[in-house]
Symmetry: C2
């Protein structure tokens, strides 16, 4: 038999989804699984988006433009003009989720063997897109003790080699929830200018910034407009992950025209999702205010609850809807699996994402898990009870094993 | 500024879409453009598919499974069981269009530098997926004079090197409309077995076989089940190109589990498109019968009409809805552009895809164009009138240039 490709062999399994078979078995046994492993919010999609889909008046569900429907791109231009004045629709490409936007950015900007620096822990699928584009991820450690702040500038300087072509951040961060300050972003601005690099940001959680803090988009960094690529998505903004609509925003015409060729090869982004997304642009501010207030309550409930458990440490995130917690156990992957296979409390258990998959450095994050506070406060309370008891029980098992 | 990647520079522009700006200018001048450049049928999407979308009863448009909704995959298994008995849902992955299925197959099976043999002319975007996965396309010429039949077995043997990892066909063919015979497919079966290769087929036009001919799927080739990967799509089958739903079918468990990792990295295929596609599985046979009958009439009208034009040669295709015609002009790309920029007849012109983009060998297909007979017979008649007059006028211009 011909062999599988090297990248196929090396392609990492998603730490978010790899334990799904164990969750399915738990459900078969009648155990209720509280899914904190995945950023699938229970928040309702804006009604006007669903209504737009239900009211389509079409006889043929046709291809759209490879760059996305122009009416949607014009609408997006107004949205981004509020993020950073002067963005026009030619600087926006509609993609199949934020995932495709990032894959396109890697493909268009990096050669196989090129290096991209990413503060870790980072969204696990960046490893996947690096693998498929042949790019090497050079991680810089941001530590849980520092609340996952931007690592010192010296760490970036030390990591830059002749092969470095870019820096990628996620702001606010998945999995850390960390929101970069304008000062931190200015440091990145200086580094990319000095070393002639691209600067990319995954800003899909832009609307989810808490405690009065404001989000600064890379699109606002002066003097490096041609180096900046912003990856975006409607998935979390409007809680419609399933429609698979994202966007790539860039003021560099060469980057845009190159990515348009990649976009033409896959013909067009999903039509129905674009209809929902275009309608969603008219979502009232009150929706975001309500959703943010709910996430803040969930965050406080979860993070405070975690820190009350003996031996658990979890910094309070300033944005997004994830938290990384350090647990008093040796191997979070084994623990997460055990929680699904062996544990239940009042017919329930909790599913988390082992954090090691969010690191690129081997051995990092082994005691950490990512939790998404995307479910109701009641669910989160049950999850905390499960986790508290689960850790106690598991520690005994672990002690026996040693 | 950091440079664009090599693959970004080399990425071919779509021959189907690169002339779009000239078509847009023609439209601005008030000229009606008859689009035979793109396989966007005017055939109505089955009503039950649109109805399913309009009747969604969901409050959150959630992610689906990375492999696709299980209910849809179970439905697809029944469909494929009719194509090749014994296919089960674990052998089917739902993808974002046939494009993603092919990109996944290349990524999972081929290393950068590996070679894939493809009879040319072939669907232009295969070049794009080869570029992004670093795979080298080794074309074998199938000639318009032979009606684009499978090239002789000796041509394949001659093209096989140590780097060859697979053969890809499109059956029935885009852009040729050629339908491979069971005997031709058996030859391919022998070659891949002898040389330890993968055999991939793009079978998205499976339902469009004319004149009583039957389609043979690669899934039916005995003894090479583990080598076969079939790429599929609902785009043409149900005339719903915009929903971006495809599938990859393979009996090789290692290939499927590798591609599932690639699928997890992009989270899930489009939810709304899957809902339309699952409903479309219940499309009655009468729909396909009517559509096929219509395409046969269109084919006969177009191909016969083309062959009546002085100096034009167009073999009659046995399937799909494309035809490649050789025109009495020197450079079809210039001609197609001229038809949009300079020509009009009674306020109309015709847009075609220059065929050179469907060849991988430089210089091939320069006199050829691809025409998609996806529009009404009235449109096709107008297109033929335009083309006849256009060729006459252009020949004078060309003579002046020389």
């Amino acid at each position: 038999m011909p062999r599988i490709s090297e990248r196929g062999l090396h392609m990492p399994e998603s730490p978010i989804r790899k334990l799904v078979p164990f969750a399915e078995k738990a459900k078969e046994k009648g155990v209720e699984v509280i899914h904190l492993n995945i950023g699938q919010p229970d928040i309702k999609t804006p009604e006007l988006a669903i209504k737009a889909v239900k009211e389509i008046d079409m006889e043929v569900l046709e291809y759209s433009h490879s760059a996305g429907n122009e009416s949607y791109r014009q609408g997006l231009a107004k949205y981004y003009d509020r993020v950073s004045p002067g963005i026009n629709f030619n600087q926006i490409l509609v993609t199949t989720g934020g995932s495709e936007a990032l894959a396109f950015a890697f493909m268009a900007c990096f050669n196989p063997g090129d290096e991209v620096i990413i503060p870790e822990p980072f969204y696990a699928n960046y490893n996947g897109f690096a693998e498929t584009s042949g790019v090497k991820v050079v991680p810089i450690n941001s530590s849980i003790e520092e609340g996952f702040a931007l690592p010192p500038i010296e760490d970036f300087e030390a990591a830059i080699s002749e092969k470095t072509k870019g820096i990628l951040i996620c702001n606010p961060g998945n999995p850390t929830g960390y929101l970069y300050t304008p000062e931190e972003l200015d440091k990145l601005r200086q580094i990319v200018e000095k070393h002639d690099l691209y600067l990319m940001a995954d800003e899909v959680y832009r609307e989810f910034c808490y405690d009065g803090r404001k989000h600064t988009s890379l699109l606002n960094l002066k003097g490096i407009e041609d180096r900046v690529i912003v990856v975006d998505s409607v998935s979390k903004r409007y809680s419609m992950c399933g429609v698979r609509i994202g966007a790539l925003v860039c003021r560099n015409e060469t980057v845009i025209s190159t990515i348009l060729k990649l976009a033409q090869a896959r013909l067009s982004p999903p039509l129905l999702g674009q209809i929902a997304s275009e309608a969603a642009l008219h979502t009232p501010q009150s929706y975001f205010d309500e959703v943010s207030a709910e996430y803040v309550q969930r965050r406080d409930l979860l993070v405070d609850g975690l820190n009350e458990i003996d031996g658990v440490f979890c910094p309070k995130p300033g944005g997004a809807f994830y938290a990384v917690a350090k647990l008093p156990i040796k191997d979070s992957e084994k623990f997460c699996k055990w929680m699904l296979e062996e544990f239940e409390h009042e017919g329930k258990t909790v599913m988390m994402a082992p954090a090691s998959g969010f690191y690129s450095s081997p051995g990092m994050g082994k005691q950490e898990v990512r939790l998404a506070y995307v479910l109701s406060q009641e669910n989160l309370k049950d999850a905390l009870s499960c986790l508290k008891l689960g850790i106690q029980e598991y520690q005994k098992t672990e002690a026996t094993l040693v």
